[in-house]
Symmetry: C2
Subunit: 304 residues, 2 copies
């Protein structure tokens, strides 16, 4: 049974209210709108990070970032947030959704989401990628916005990790520490506070915070449709990306970056299949690329 690991995501910036003061009940209700729930949370001076039954929610004083996977209805949480805080306080909104391979199993399509969004928010829809290949649908609010200098985001979305790594991650009964070691968090996230959850029988989610840096990881480890996503504001120019790719050896990956050129980041052994880049009207530069391993080889089909 295929699980649609690919996430929906929204990031909204508000003025006139400190979003961290709204309390956990407010966010519990927000998360419920997407048909997910809060599992646990960590906080530091600048951010509250909630681990969800389907992915993650981060709350800073002026912005929220919510990511959900599977059959969740993120659009309803997004609208709830805007209506509760007030559209007059909305400074920036970006709503993203990856193409799905089993779109008939989703409660809403991106077109449905778009209709709902446009009833409330005047915005622009951009399609990054080819419609017959991996692509990412992005909607942004049509209001000028100037990203802060350090407002960079990286999404590393990996498909078909190696059989060996899939075997490890689908082994039941792993401790959190075993999976932390597997991902080499001591190397890529030194000094970070970590909040993670091992799902039963398998699957893994993690939020991490350190000062103004965050990282979140979600793992659908099943062979043949494995998917692992990283999102972070740690620079991909560090050895972060190469370490992760070395651990998971995915057959292919997408990269989405805000305020960073990804053209020079193609790692050894991978080819860039496509690269889309745009300074979008609301102020951000957005890059989307798809990369795949060069050594594909001849494979047998899968018998089902």
């Amino acid at each position: 049974m295929f699980f649609e690991g690919s996430e929906k995501k929204f990031e909204a910036v508000f003025s006139g209210v400190d979003l961290r003061t709204l309390g956990v009940d407010f966010y519990r209700e927000l998360v419920a709108k997407s048909q997910a729930e809060i599992l646990s949370s960590i906080s530091n001076d600048v951010c509250d990070a909630y681990l969800l039954s389907e992915s993650s929610l981060f709350v800073w004083s002026d912005r929220v970032l919510m990511i959900t996977c599977g059959r969740t209805t993120l659009i309803h949480a997004c609208l709830h947030m805007i209506n509760k805080i007030g559209k007059e306080n909305l400074e920036s909104l970006i709503f993203q959704r990856k193409n799905e391979y089993y779109s008939h199993l989703q409660h809403t399509t991106f077109d449905d989401d778009l209709k709902i969004l446009r009833e409330t928010v005047d915005g622009t829809f951009l399609l990054f990628g080819h419609e017959h290949e991996h692509h990412n649908c992005l909607f942004h609010y049509n209001k000028p916005f100037t990203p802060a200098e350090d407002d960079k985001t990286f999404e590393l979305l990996m498909y078909d990790i190696s059989d060996e790594q899939s075997d490890f991650l689908t082994t039941e009964g792993h401790t959190q520490q075993a999976i932390r070691d597997f991902f080499k968090f001591d190397k890529i996230l030194p000094g970070f506070e970590i909040d993670d959850f091992v799902f039963n029988p398998y699957g893994y989610s993690m939020n991490a915070l350190k000062g103004d840096k965050y990282c979140t990881i979600h793992v659908t480890p099943q062979k043949h449709y494995s998917y692992v996503s990283f999102e972070t504001n740690i620079s991909m120019e560090s050895n972060f990306m190469s370490t992760i790719l070395d651990v998971l050896k995915p057959d292919s990956f997408d990269m989405v970056a805000f305020e960073q050129n990804i053209a020079g980041l193609t790692p050894d052994n991978y080819d860039s299949r496509m690269l889309f880049s745009e300074k979008i009207d609301c102020g951000y530069r957005v890059d989307f690329g798809h990369f795949y391993r060069r050594d594909a080889g001849v494979k047998a089909p899968r018998k089902l």
Copy 2:
């Protein structure tokens, strides 16, 4: 409005009845089961070729090949054929379906089709390709079958043809001859009898026959989701494939071949993204590959 050009297809071999004697009313009813209709037909000594509102139907004495696109329900035509001719006369059945990018718009999913097929036919489901990429679902009847020496089939499924070619093919009012010249049929199909249809406002379908050779072409020319499919039993080792690729310059293509190794066919300027190959239990060797142009470059996203 995206049109799902990718086809569903079945090929069934029967004994004990000459399928060509069943008459046009029989095939009109068959085609109606898939929610398509017959537009025209041509015949020669060995084959009747019907051009459909959504793709094509070929009838030989011992086999039918039916290909339909869009939102058609080919599964119902396939079942109708088996029930009418009798499962006891069924010697071989292959039912194929490409992954769809807008599967929520289809009347049935491949899983639905599989359930329906398995109520009548004991068969095997094979998935060629990666579930997170282009893939082709193939179901075959579990009955030993020995393909004749010349029983080869090639499908060349091309995505995102060049803007210039898309502009030409979406120009309204083309004559059939203008499109025949565009595709260089005089070069790739010399001496073939051609039956073709220019759709309004655009779109094109063609069947061609010459002795025991056939070819069918279906064109969804719209920029951003253009798709052109060729199916034929002409050898792809001739200059057939290179001529077509040279005319259309697609960004990527899939190739599906029965009884032919496609590993050595990667053309200049294209890379092989994946290659799946299997001698399937019912007797055929099946190859599936995805290929894409090397010179992708940086592109702007599409504003919708």
